[in-house]
């Protein structure tokens, strides 16, 4: 076999002239597909010795060829830049985790509201965390400021935390004043500068939807504790809020889903209000409620 092929190499090199510059005659003679395929394979075959040499050469020269060096250089740079971005992300995640645990503390102290603790006492406890959050958000802003214009590249790493913060702040604000905490007020509370590190409006709106989810439970527990006027106030607030949300043209995204869920909160509060009213508790119970929402 070996000797046969060796003798053939001389033959093929002789033929290779013809095969590299395709001979018009062979193309014409290729009348059927099978024949032309066969001819193709003979051309491939005849190229083989030269090609083999070439692949050996490229293997030896391989990495040192100018193009692959340029390719390598570019990808090295990519790797470097992506690593940088990755470590920035790690730092953001670290702060976001702290924000998360702080909001958890805040949430747990706010949960006392369901156990009929006085509003002022509950708020005072929760308020102690605000400064911590403020500090954490300023850290976050500082990290993100290192990469101007790339706010939204890393946005996903803190947005759920930011939404949670909005929801808690808005709930506290509502307990205190009976009104909705607006977007700029949240930024103010967190000490954010909207021009360089603001709160995304969609995050704000999602956070507000989270707050609405808290309200049915609050109403139920307030009524149980004897505050029969609470459902009326909550219902009014939630109705206004729901109506305001209807002003927005939403896309089919997460915010839309949360907004769609808000009507169930509204319905639940309506039910409680109905239950209280139909039994005539609302009118008699006005003075009884001790933990009533402070009037604005």
């Amino acid at each position: 076999m070996k000797s046969v092929s060796r003798t053939l190499i001389t033959l093929t090199t002789a033929l290779s002239h013809r095969s590299i510059n395709p001979n018009p005659k062979t193309l014409i003679s290729a009348t059927t597909a099978t024949v032309s395929l066969r001819l193709n394979s003979t051309t491939i075959l005849t190229q083989q010795p030269t090609h083999r040499n070439h692949s050996f050469a490229s293997m030896a020269a391989g990495d040192s060829s100018p193009t692959s060096a340029a390719v390598e250089k570019q990808f090295d740079e990519f790797r470097h830049r992506l690593e940088e971005s990755g470590s920035l992300r790690d730092r953001i995640r670290a702060v976001a985790t702290q924000i998360e645990s702080t909001t958890r503390m805040m949430h747990s102290s706010l949960l006392l509201i369901h156990q009929s603790r006085p509003i002022q006492e509950v708020l005072e406890k929760a308020n102690t965390q605000i400064d911590v959050l403020k500090e954490l958000f300023s850290q976050l802003a500082e990290i993100v400021r290192e990469r101007p214009g790339e706010y939204y590249r890393y946005h996903g790493d803190w947005r759920t935390e930011a939404q949670q913060v909005v929801s808690l702040f808005a709930f506290m604000h509502w307990l205190e004043t009976g009104e909705l905490l607006i977007h700029t007020e949240v930024e103010e509370k967190l000490g954010l500068n909207a021009s360089e590190f603001g709160l995304d409006v969609e995050d704000y709106l999602i956070g507000i939807c989270f707050m609405s989810n808290e309200l049915p439970r609050y109403v139920v527990n307030q009524v149980t504790a004897g505050d029969y006027d609470c459902p009326r106030k909550v219902l009014k607030f939630l109705t206004d809020l729901h109506a305001s949300f209807r002003l927005l043209n939403l896309r089919n995204d997460f915010l839309r889903k949360k907004f769609d869920g808000m009507k169930y909160d509204l319905r639940r509060v309506e039910e409680v209000y109905y239950d209280v009213k139909i039994r005539g508790l609302a009118s008699t119970g006005d003075g009884k409620g001790e933990q009533t929402v402070q009037e604005a």
Binding site: V4, S5, L8, T12, S19, P22, T34, V35, L37, R38, N40, S41, T42, T43, I44, L45, Q47, Q48, H51, H54, S55, S58, T67, S68, A70, V71, Q74, F75, F78, R79, L82, E83, S85, G86, G149, Y151, Y152, R153, H155, G178, E179, L180, I182, H183, V201, E202, L205, R232, L235, F237, T239, D240, A243, S244, R246, L247, L248, N249, R251, A296
Partner: protein, 313 residues
């Protein structure tokens, strides 16, 4: 005609509105006697429009405190109308960007198809046309995208324009490889995009991620090209593609896990490996089975042709 009773069932419509509609409906009945039908239809449409407008008002929940209901909600509404404006603008912009991106994708695909029309004898003219089409894509469609994006939009709306940019990267790198045999760098592409944007604005610069994702797709196209070249007898060309693709795959293995959304990239890497292996297998088949033909030169036996190139795409 609207049934006023029925409308009352939609409890979010305030009762005064139903009353108004009732009055209007009776008025309408009078008009109907004299007005032509088309006129009436227009009025109906107008009524519908006002109904949609008013239905967004909050319903008055109870009769207990109708006066107080208005004050806080109007301030709430004021801030929400600002959010609405923000969201509308953002969504409109996103929509325009998606559209621009889709146009870029479509036309870049055409460039890629043009490159695939390559054959042994027409390389120069095919590639010349491809290059021309490619710069048309840039001057026409990418320029439109550039005008939409500003500041933080580059990252905020990245999902909206990324597919188009990836396809463009794919087309541009494919053209470049076919003409010069080298990889078109990100810096080179970005330098070409610079003249598109107004000097006063921040220029659109393709980010590393989209470039890499585009490169990952390039492998698929190069695989098709390599198979085409092999069946055209240009084994040397196929070998060149094979080396190039291997090189890219090798480089990307180091970069891929560090990407922002590496799960997306991971599937692309798997597809890429498939493509690389397809090219390698095709080269291998020609290489190995080619030698089986050696004793057959000059023979008329056509049955061996089936051993040539297996059925790759």
């Amino acid at each position: 005609m609207y049934n006023v009773q029925e409308l009352k069932l939609f409890h979010f419509i305030p009762s005064w509105y139903c009353q108004m509609l009732h009055n209007w409906a009776s008025l309408q009945r009078h008009i109907h006697l004299m007005a032509p039908k088309s006129h009436r239809i227009r009025q109906l449409a107008a009524a519908e429009a006002t109904m949609q407008g008013t239905s967004k008002k909050p319903r008055s929940i109870s009769t207990e405190a109708p006066a107080a209901a208005d004050t806080p909600s109007s301030s709430m509404k004021h801030s929400f109308s600002k959010y609405a404006e923000y969201l509308n603008q953002l969504n409109d912009k996103r929509e325009r960007v998606v559209k621009a991106s889709r146009d870029i994708t479509m036309n870049s695909k055409k460039v890629i198809f043009q490159v695939h029309r390559i054959s042994k004898n027409n390389k120069d003219e095919v590639l010349e046309k491809a290059e021309k089409d490619l710069s048309a894509v840039k001057d026409h469609y990418i320029a439109r995208l550039v005008n939409e994006l500003q500041g933080t939009d580059f990252w905020k709306l990245r999902r909206a324009y990324s597919p188009g940019i990836q396809e463009y990267v794919e087309a541009a790198t494919l053209c470049k490889f076919c003409t010069t045999g080298t990889l078109l760098n990100l810096d080179e592409i970005n330098a070409m995009l610079l003249p598109l944007s107004d000097p006063s604005r921040e220029p659109l610069q393709i980010n590393i991620l989209d470039y890499i994702l585009g490169l990952a797709d390039l492998t698929g196209e190069l695989m098709r090209l390599a198979i085409g070249r092999i069946s055209d007898g240009e084994l040397e060309y196929a070998e060149k593609i094979c080396r190039f693709v291997r090189e890219i795959y090798r480089e990307l293995t180091l970069v891929a896990p560090k990407m922002d959304d590496s799960s997306d990239m991971k599937t692309k890497m798997d597809v890429m490996l498939q493509s690389v292996m397809k090219i390698e297998n095709a080269c291998f088949s020609v290489h190995v089975r080619g030698s089986e033909y050696i004793p057959l030169i000059g023979s008329d036996d056509a049955s061996y042709t089936l051993l040539g190139v297996p059925n790759f795409e």
